[in-house]
Symmetry: none
Subunit: 227 residues, 4 copies
């Protein structure tokens, strides 16, 4: 697509080869960094794994750090795609929320190395870089907040500040993903998504307790973070 020219000058074939090789390296690197941890992952070993020379890796990525960050970025790109696909699979906005959550949990269940990469990035580049995860999360915030706002205006969600809803759901997913990985929880992502959604949608209080507490529909508590 990039070069539609039938016969450009130079070496057109190599571009494709170069991209494919790059992908191969990133694939192997993702697993390798995740299994060893960034500091213990040495390039020589990765080169051996890939059956290429060390120098070759350096031809594709200027440094270990750069390779690692490319690895994380690629992973986050894939996560974003997966979530978007999960959203697009439903029509009803509330169902779309469920779709997003399922996609998120599925993704990390299928790619355990993804979680490890997030940790390693934060631990090893704490001062040098905003965590890629949050770069992406923020990039999608407005788009997703808009959706929530529509639901509120449609009267389907309580009138709570949209950031608050986004934060709670985002933080809950983030915490769930880490915990799943760290303690080795083996739940089916879809079951877990359902449980989680149930509480987020309905809360944990019983009907009687809700009534006893006199919930007001529009505003359960004064909104402190509107400003």
């Amino acid at each position: 697509m990039e070069s539609v020219s039938k016969r450009g000058p130079g070496r057109p074939v190599n571009v494709a080869i170069r991209l494919r090789r790059q992908e191969e390296i990133l694939d192997a690197a993702a697993k390798f960094f995740a299994s060893r941890g960034y500091p213990e992952a040495n390039i020589q070993e990765l080169a051996d794994l890939l059956q290429v020379g060390k120098g070759t890796i350096y031809r594709y990525f200027p440094s270990k750090e750069n390779l690692f960050l490319a690895t994380v970025d690629r992973m986050m790109r894939k996560l974003t795609e997966a979530i978007d696909a999960g959203i697009d699979a439903a029509d009803d906005p509330v169902e779309q929320l469920g779709g997003a959550i399922r996609a998120y949990l599925r993704f990390f269940a299928e790619h355990p190395e993804a979680t490890e990469l997030l940790i390693q990035e934060r631990a090893n580049f704490k001062d040098r870089k905003q965590p890629t995860y949050f770069v992406y999360r923020e990039a999608n915030t407005l788009r997703r907040q808009a959706r929530v706002r529509e639901l509120i205006q449609a009267g389907r969600l309580r009138d709570i500040p949209v950031e608050r809803i986004g934060d709670v759901i985002g933080d809950l997913l983030y915490g769930t993903m880490f915990t799943n990985y760290f303690v080795g929880r083996e739940r089916l992502p879809d079951d877990q998504a359902a449980d989680l959604l149930d509480i987020v949608l309905y809360g944990v209080l019983s009907e009687s307790e809700r009534r006893a507490r006199g919930v007001k529909e529009q505003d359960v508590r004064p909104n402190s973070d509107h400003g």
Copy 2:
């Protein structure tokens, strides 16, 4: 004075001094490991900070690893104490839940280095050790589940499996704590606790949507993890 041991002459071991020195080292080490990250934290610099010789640190802790893990453990002990205190401050069980959440968020707001230590531990000792955080979390699980069970039996919470509630709240807090730290959120812990609790207790759906979805009091959805 403490021990009437028949020790001969010579410089007596002062237990109190020893303990105090140990605490001083742990205090400094917590901040130091958090600010540098485990791999970059070199003992020489820590010794300089403490104005003692490197050897002195090694008299109190046999290795860098040991010192670091002691640091994490101490922090988790303090967190547990803070949460317990937050619980004990209220009588009503639902209020106690709020107290626990507030204590948790306050603790990490006041001790930003605590979050960093958790990351560093996971990133640098991934294969050697179960994360201390989850050792403590598990140690308190049964005790806290019992409390939830009572609330359900009292009809104040929906009849949802207790693990599910514990997991959701635990994961939400965990994710919130990390996110606060990573993106530098500066919310007042108590406000954040209130927001979070509001959603956990009441859910995000509006009353009309709840009714439209025909919520059943006892069991909103078939319980998949009872067995």
Copy 3:
């Protein structure tokens, strides 16, 4: 040229260069370890001497210990060759014994560092390794004992157990070599070999004393170590 392997492009491994470099390192290391002593010999300094980076030495030898032991082994290989050459230089078996002794003493006179390496090995690897010297000595024992046995059968040597003769000559050379080095004796190796051989062959007793003591040809004293 040596190997017609189908290696792809890239810098080819030059086996000859590799071997030469290895020899250079061993040469320098032998002198260096001998002059400093094993514990004081630090690799950085050796690298400086060789005008290469520390890492280069580690490319050829995996550790300081390994390098040192390779150094000792090489020296013992050379000693063995020298002795064998000394033996082959003569035809008469008794002359061959003289040739071996001369070669031994010459070797250590010409390579003072060899003695030092033997000491250093024993002192620093006492529990980890049988001294290389004795590994080689034992490897040659049977071969040399056979020669002695022939001489006895030919009636040229007294009928003394072959081990006894081998041990005495071996121990005498070992002790002479150490003593020469430790006290800085500067005798010509060939003169010393002659003196030593004279006593070993003829003993120190005068003819009259021999007769007075009634030497029996075949067996001067009851053989206690035949079994």
Copy 4:
């Protein structure tokens, strides 16, 4: 015994205590240095063994080096005594030579640590100090050469330069002692002494070979080291 004074000034008792304590330390140190090797022998461990504080050892010996060398010196003093006793046990001078050799070999058989101390001293103080062994050996040289000279004048030994005889016997013993220790030979010292003496006295040649070679009584070969 040392201080016969009934009531000297100061603290007379302590001198005896001090000497006894010093001996205890030297005893333990000899075995300790021999088993660990000088560099690995750390003073703390020796203090633990002796059940005293590290500082106490430093009250008796100013440094690790000094303690070690005192240990070697004491050992050599004992060896000298043992050899002298072996000499004094016989009247006939040739028997006395046998007595000395037996005493030497017995001493090292009974004190294996003695050999190790000699190695360790040479290996670790190569540039700082003439080996104690040779200090003592030289100190006794003249005395022993005189004895040999008398035997020659009495016509009982061949007229060989006395140094040559002393060197050969001395080197042979030195080499035998080391070899015994390094290869773990378990021969009875007296048997070994007899074997060794047999060869030194009578040589290894058969009578017929001696005659064939035309041994001249007084001078088997021109004396090259008289000057």
